[in-house]
Symmetry: C2
Subunit: 397 residues, 2 copies
């Protein structure tokens, strides 16, 4: 596995020190304390202008969210910064989420901006533990965009919605002059119903939990990079874009031990479940999600490099690009943290579903060092997997 | 009042024939039948490429919506094409809506893209009869956009949310390269709770109903045009952007005759109310909304030109621009169709609210000619007010 392009500064330096000086624990402790101090520092945006890195899902995005959006909009529903907000209305619990899509190119092997926009919002709702119900669709179109391409996008959205069992119930269209957009941007927001009385949270991981991914990682991001034709690499890859609500339901059915009919409209007596947390690995890839979980739960996530499923085409392209597949976006892969005792049940449930056939146990949660993701490499070393600083793969979703 | 720039083709021709040949009713009937036939025709998008007109809110937007979005996404919740979708979850009824904002310039007298995006979605929820609760915020930022401007936008959104009593609970940020956006685009979606058992619909207007606007029209659109500095006109105008949920609640409280506490969590025994329909007049202005209502209800809407409140600055600018204020966007004005017998009650309720001080009865609903909006001019003539074909005021929201 190549070094991580874009993960720079103190954290990576820390990894090198960490690896090389195991015999001097006081030094290691100093490093971890320095990392901890830096992380507890109030987020701020140092840049005067927005850069591509602010859209990467990595460190810069996190600063922007914490220093500006969270600061201005602060409220108890937003604050957990999960993939969607969960709130009660009457006797129901609902999830609500949004994502804008600016992927380039609009059409790529395995999908397009349309099914990506539907699947992405369906997935954000699903990983909140909700059953996705209704979507909105907001289009920003560039003057001159071919109407035929718009038809392809909406047809693709309609197909994806049908496959996921959701409906697009409201929408909006804006048109901007030539050169003020890039063909077509799509926003989808979504509403889902939490019909299981469980509470999922990135802060719920605890020592002994198992970390599972639902299949090979990085296919979407690499497919987009290759589809741009900027690289002279050929690989037989297609995007993994897919709706994860069926897979998530299968996992929860198996792990939470209640038949679905018993859970429908159950009293909202929310309790922590065997499944602690789920995320779909998009921008920033699996590495970013694991960092969010480690940070929110105050735990260490230890991942085995050799256990991470990566198809040869993705691995090869990543090596040529100098990117770690752990940071590459998927659009149809689930990361789940489950009670260690339920790992086999969870894996079996995922593998029994077509979208989870390649599910793998990739690591475990430990108490120390809190807030960090550690990768045990194939060569027997350990390195810290931090958030990305730059954006090696812009506009992949 | 000047002629309407942009309303072209058969409808405007029809107006001229109509006005000049009252002594030949058979000719008039032919014209109306021709209009009716054209309107019943299946919508289709004739253009091969998206034009600015597709974003105007007028005829081209309508064709795009009906021929592409409605065609592909068709479902009973989307089909009414109201400002938001209304659906039941558990024992509650919810409204769900979305809008993207691409206004240029981002900052203008009286507001900016931030409060516009919050108020717009709050208003769409309010006119569905719901109490706006939660908003999402999706940002598409252009690389190089000043972080300080982003802070101004989010601070403005936070202020608008606080004033409207809603919370931004989930969000998303994307960044695109220079030249692929225009600084900052914002999408807001929103969820509201219908805690009154009334059904509002553009299809609910009936003969004898009164048509009311909550204040002077066209201020937002003209303010934006002037803020672009492309015209050498000076006028002391500010945008009317404002959250209408308080005003709407005041209107419903007065007209529906139930104290608010009696309505909270009332059984969802939905019934048509004294208030038939409400809309906030944005893109396409009051004229577009009245056309939608006339069309959906199969009624005529007859408006008195002299009764329409227009501030002198707006009137003057519109005359110089060759635009009819009826087509100019407001962002804080309500159009309500109410039972004729309740018109005085409705007007009094609106006028008692700071945002409705300038409310006026501007017209009535009649049976014939169905589907048309007629304007009785100050000179005693009558003309048809059709949907706009072009887009004289692009990117005003």
């Amino acid at each position: 596995m190549t070094d991580v392009e874009g993960t720079a500064g103190w954290a990576e330096a820390a990894v090198r020190e960490h690896a090389g000086e195991a015999e001097r624990p006081s030094r290691e402790e100093q490093v971890l304390e320095r990392i901890d101090r830096a992380r507890r520092r109030k987020a701020r945006v140092k840049e005067e202008h927005v850069t591509m890195a602010h859209g990467s899902g990595g460190k810069a995005t996190q600063s922007l969210i914490e220093a500006i959006f969270l600061e201005d909009f602060r409220n108890p529903l937003l604050e957990p910064l999960e993939d969607g907000a969960v709130f009660g209305v009457g006797s129901s619990r609902l999830a609500f989420t949004t994502d804008s899509y600016v992927v380039s190119p609009l059409f790529f092997p395995g999908g397009d901006i349309g099914d990506l926009a539907v699947n992405g919002t369906v997935n954000d709702l699903a990983v909140c533990g909700s059953r996705p119900l209704y979507l909105s669709a907001g289009f920003i179109l560039e003057e001159g965009f071919p109407v035929e391409d718009l038809r392809r996008v909406t047809a693709s959205m309609a197909g994806a919605a049908a496959r996921a069992g959701v409906q697009v119930v409201t929408g909006d269209t804006k048109v901007v002059q030539r050169g003020k957009a890039d063909g077509c941007y799509v926003n989808t927001a979504g509403v889902g119903l939490l019909d299981r009385p469980i509470g999922l949270s990135a802060a719920a991981a605890r020592s002994g939990d198992a970390v599972i991914v639902s299949g090979p990682i990085g296919e979407h991001g690499v497919t987009i990079m290759l589809a741009r034709g900027e690289l002279d690499i050929e690989a037989d890859l297609v995007s993994d874009t897919a709706p994860l609500n069926g897979l998530v339901a299968a996992l929860l059915d198996a792990c939470e031990g209640l038949p679905p009919e018993a859970r429908r409209d159950a009293a909202p007596d929310v309790r922590p479940g065997v499944v602690r947390c789920m995320r779909d690995a998009t921008r920033g890839g699996v590495a970013t999600i694991l960092n969010e979980i480690a940070h929110a739960s105050g735990v260490a996530v230890v991942v085995e490099e050799d256990a991470i499923p990566v198809r040869p085409g993705v691995r090869g392209a990543c090596e040529l690009l100098g990117i770690d597949p752990l940071y590459v976006a998927c659009e149809g892969r689930l990361v789940a943290v489950v009670d260690g005792a339920a790992a086999d049940t969870a894996l079996a449930a995922l593998r029994a579903h077509p979208l989870g056939a390649g599910a793998a146990l990739v690591g475990h949660v430990k108490d120390d060092p809190p807030g960090l993701v550690l990768l045990k490499t194939g060569f027997g070393g350990t390195r810290i997997v931090d958030l990305l600083v730059g954006d090696p793969l812009p506009r992949i979703c």
